[in-house]
Amino acid sequence: MHELLVLALIGLGTYAMRAAFLVMAHRAPPARVARLLPYVGPAVLAAIVVPAFVAPHGTIAFADTAPALLAAAAAWLAWRHLKRNLPLALFGGLAVWWIASWAVSAAGGLGLGPS
């Protein structure tokens, strides 16, 4: 039960952070702050995404990093050229990742490529 309490506390804190500025929305932010706000999304999402592709298991290792980066590139290309179709880009990226991971591990098993 103590786990439920911990999760509820996190939920409460998260809600407080989500509400913090929304509930004061009637007051316009100072111009210096307003200028920064458009860059919140790109900066935050890139800070989540880039480490996950470059170092999927916490460290940069060819066998993990190369397939992940290939998958990211494939998803990006698919999104750009296939009418911004999210599911297609996502599953395309996953498929490229599976194939590339398999290829890297197969090459490693044959003693090819960096290990």
Partner: protein, 237 residues
């Protein structure tokens, strides 16, 4: 920001648009949600408690961190602290969305805060800063429609993952689904050079700072990216 609405005949029904924007996101979130549910059910926590993180937190990254730390027996204080650091980006989302909700009644802003997860923020801000001329009413409808499509979908997907946890083949690897999903939320936001600069800086600093404890690397990257974006955007103006 304009409050002029297009004439009704030209206005695309905003609720239909919101549903059409949100459904592909649900599909794109399916692998992540199922994988997260399976991970939740693989912990020693009772399944329903692990799953309750979906309605309580409504955000996969913090759910994963919190439940895995609890499973590993980490101290409650550290679990709460770690998850709140990961979720500190919600403060930034709240600040960035607030100007677009200025015309809403207070109760909708209090209610909307609960739904302010990554994909809801990403879809809403892309719509509100795009070429549309939505008034407060349309923005309210768009935001809540997106939220009320994504919220039950997330609860259902993670619930299905919990139930299917033992059935999904272990060879089906889905761990890259989460970053790919977030990448696809990021791409529509890259609409200018300063936005690219913010993303490149945020990503690079987060990688460089990834050794920091408690996921603080994410916050370091976010802060650096926002600063560089603001500086670059101000330089152009």
């Amino acid at each position: 920001m304009t409050t002029l609405n297009p004439p009704p005949a030209l206005a695309e029904p905003v609720i239909g648009r919101a549903v059409r924007d949100a459904l592909p996101v649900v599909l794109a979130y399916a692998p992540f949600g199922l994988a997260l549910g399976a991970t939740l059910s693989a912990t020693h926590l009772p399944s329903w408690i692990a799953w309750s993180s979906s309605p309580l937190l409504f955000g996969g990254a913090a759910q994963l961190l919190a439940v895995q730390m609890l499973d590993a027996g980490a101290a409650a204080v550290l679990v709460v602290l770690g998850a709140l650091v990961v979720n500190a980006r919600m403060l930034l989302y709240s600040a960035a969305l607030a100007p677009h909700t200025a015309g809403w009644r207070a109760r909708w802003r209090w209610l909307g805060a609960y739904l302010l997860a990554d994909p809801v923020y990403a879809l809403a801000i892309t719509r509100f800063t795009g070429a549309h001329t939505d008034g407060p009413r349309e923005r309210l409808r768009y935001f809540f429609t997106v939220g009320l499509v994504l919220w039950p979908a997330w609860l259902g997907l993670t619930g299905a993952g919990v139930l299917l946890g033992g059935v999904l083949p272990t060879s089906l690897r889905l761990d890259l689904a989460a970053p790919l999903t977030f990448l696809l939320l990021l791409l529509p936001m890259l609409t200018s050079r300063p936005a690219y600069a913010a993303a490149v800086t945020g990503g690079a600093v987060a990688v460089a700072a990834s050794a920091l404890p408690l996921g603080l690397g994410l916050l370091a990257g976010a802060a650096a990216g926002i600063a560089v974006g603001g500086w670059w955007g101000g330089r152009r103006a």
